[in-house]
């Protein structure tokens, strides 16, 4: 037999599967990179064409961002926003998951509480701002409260739906083996609902990130929302406004990516197999 050199030969390519996957990824994201490039070019051309004195060019945004990085304020604002989200969202998870499990499992809890949640859920978190200020004043508690209130409902709903959609055959099997209530919950109900909980968390975190920026625009002295409003108020620094917007978008994307990593976890992966 003649030995044929192969592209998968370990001596030729150190990480054959890795490089191939990177290339595939790159190929798949080419169109979206192209669209972004076209948009930036159009933006640049438009600013030059209308001779705008206020609206920044992409280059002005880059230099503005650099200025924020250099004087250290960008990190302060990012840390402030992320901390608020972490606390508000963390509290919401602690409340929503047990509450959702309870409402899903106990029929009476569902019929009693579900109508209230269905009424509260469509209220925009922005509509809560005056009440948040009334109750908690202008400080860190108000945005944390707004994040909590906005992310808790989607997570309760998803968890409840998760319990309701556990297939009967699994509950029946558990009943058949005569396991204790504790085993039923830890080995059947919670693992079965976990994928739905993760979906709820992904939705909840997305909403939380939307809300923190909006809440910070109203009051406070730190956070990316504050930074945007402050840049406008203090001398029409629209380069910093746009920089803030892009940074918010990028952080939101990373948070979603983080939650999607959770979906690859072994406790959740079974749901997405097949």
């Amino acid at each position: 037999m003649v030995a044929r050199p192969s592209v998968h030969d370990a001596s030729l390519v150190p990480f054959p599967s890795l490089t191939r996957r990177t290339m595939q990824h790159l190929k798949a994201s080419l169109p979206s990179i192209a669209v972004i490039a076209v948009l930036i070019a159009a933006w640049w051309a438009a600013v030059i064409a209308v001779h705008s004195l206020i609206f920044p060019t992409p280059w002005a945004v880059i230099t503005g961002t650099w200025e924020l990085i250099y004087n250290g304020t960008l990190w302060q604002h990012i840390t402030a926003s992320l901390t608020r989200v972490a606390i508000g969202f963390g509290l919401a998870v602690c409340v929503a998951v047990p509450l959702g499990l309870w409402m899903g499992w106990v029929r009476g809890a569902y019929t009693t509480l579900n109508p209230i949640f269905q009424i509260l859920r469509p209220i925009s978190p922005i509509a809560w701002i005056p009440i948040a200020i009334l109750w908690f004043g202008i400080g860190n508690v108000s945005p944390v409260y707004l994040i909590f209130i906005s992310s808790v409902f989607p997570m309760v709903v998803q968890t409840t739906v998760g319990v309701h959609t556990i297939e009967k055959r699994y509950l029946r099997a558990a009943e058949n083996f005569g396991v204790s209530r504790r085993i039923l919950f830890t080995r059947v109900v919670i693992p079965a609902v976990l994928p739905q909980i993760v979906v709820g968390m992904r939705i909840g975190l997305g909403v939380a990130w939307l809300v923190v920026v909006a809440a910070e625009m109203i009051a406070l002295h730190s956070g990316l929302g504050y930074m945007i409003m402050d840049s406008r108020n203090a001398g029409n620094r629209y380069d910093l406004v746009v920089a803030g917007m892009i940074i918010i978008g990028l952080i939101g994307l990373s948070l979603d990516g983080l939650m999607r990593l959770l979906e690859g976890n072994r406790w959740v992966r079974w749901r997405y197999a097949h």
Binding site: R169, Y170, R172, N176, G178, V179, R187, P191, R271, H274
Partner: protein
């Protein structure tokens, strides 16, 4: 031999949009300890309802089920149900699935017992796999092993192999017979496959269409391994099919 299962005048009806639907009507029969009984009937005749009544998953309108001469109204691990759709937990590994029902043993022994049963059904090496990584036939083996591991007196099998292809179904039947030869369980099997019933059962009860009653009983006097193509089993098959209203030349 002792009587293991006794059904006395079991009757069940369901409420539907079109009114009351009588599904099971005065069904009485008994199964001896270690006996393999197959219930054969046309689809939609109420076989599954009858099985659920006997296993204790649903309550009958009237009549009683006795297991070891004691009234039986709730499912427990003395009788494990294996259904067509399967109920292997997709979020647990094969080993964790097999360990699920083990409460009677000290926890330290659970993994060893589970692995022993994985070996018995031919799943050695797959203990840490998740169900979605297994084929349909392997999933059935997990289901069977998970039932056997709790040493149930009775196996309730509701069309257990009908979702498998013909070859895998045949292989699983042989596997089941091999295991039953070692661990003597009482088995109640529901099937619409007459050949499967003749292959496996000691006795075949033919059910009527809805509301289901026991229409006929056939003994299967052939010793294992059975050669289904020989004259006597073929003759039995014809008689059962005739009873089911399927005439063949």
């Amino acid at each position: 031999m002792r009587t293991k299962i006794e059904a006395r005048e079991l009757t069940k009806s369901f409420e539907s949009d079109k009114g009351r639907l009588q599904v099971v009507e005065k069904v009485s029969f008994s199964v001896r300890e270690g006996e393999f009984v197959a219930l054969v009937g046309p689809s939609g005749c109420g076989k599954t309802t009858l099985m659920n009544l006997i296993a204790g998953f649903i309550r009958s309108d009237s009549g009683t089920v006795l297991i070891d001469s004691m009234p039986h109204s709730k499912p427990d691990s003395r009788g494990i149900l294996i259904s067509q759709q399967g109920s292997v937990f997709p979020w647990l590994t094969v080993r964790e699935n097999l360990m699920f029902g083990l409460n009677a043993h000290p926890p330290a022994e659970h993994a060893d017992i589970a692995d022993r049963y994985a070996d018995i059904v031919g799943l050695k090496g797959f203990e840490d796999s998740f169900p979605h990584e297994l084929s349909g036939g392997m999933l059935k083996r997990v289901e069977l092993a998970r039932a056997l591991v709790v040493k149930p007196d009775i196996l309730y099998m509701d069309e257990p192999f009908s979702a498998l292809d013909a070859l895998m179904s045949l292989r699983m039947r042989n596997e089941l017979l091999r295991i039953l030869a070692k661990e003597r369980h009482t088995v109640l099997l529901i099937t619409h496959d007459v050949e499967e019933a003749i292959h496996l059962a000691d006795r075949i009860l033919v059910l009527s269409s809805r509301p289901t009653r026991i229409q006929a009983t056939f003994e299967v006097p052939f010793s294992h391994p059975r050669k289904l193509t020989s004259a006597a089993p073929q003759e039995l098959r014809m008689s059962i099919l005739r009873e089911l209203g399927v005439e063949q030349d």
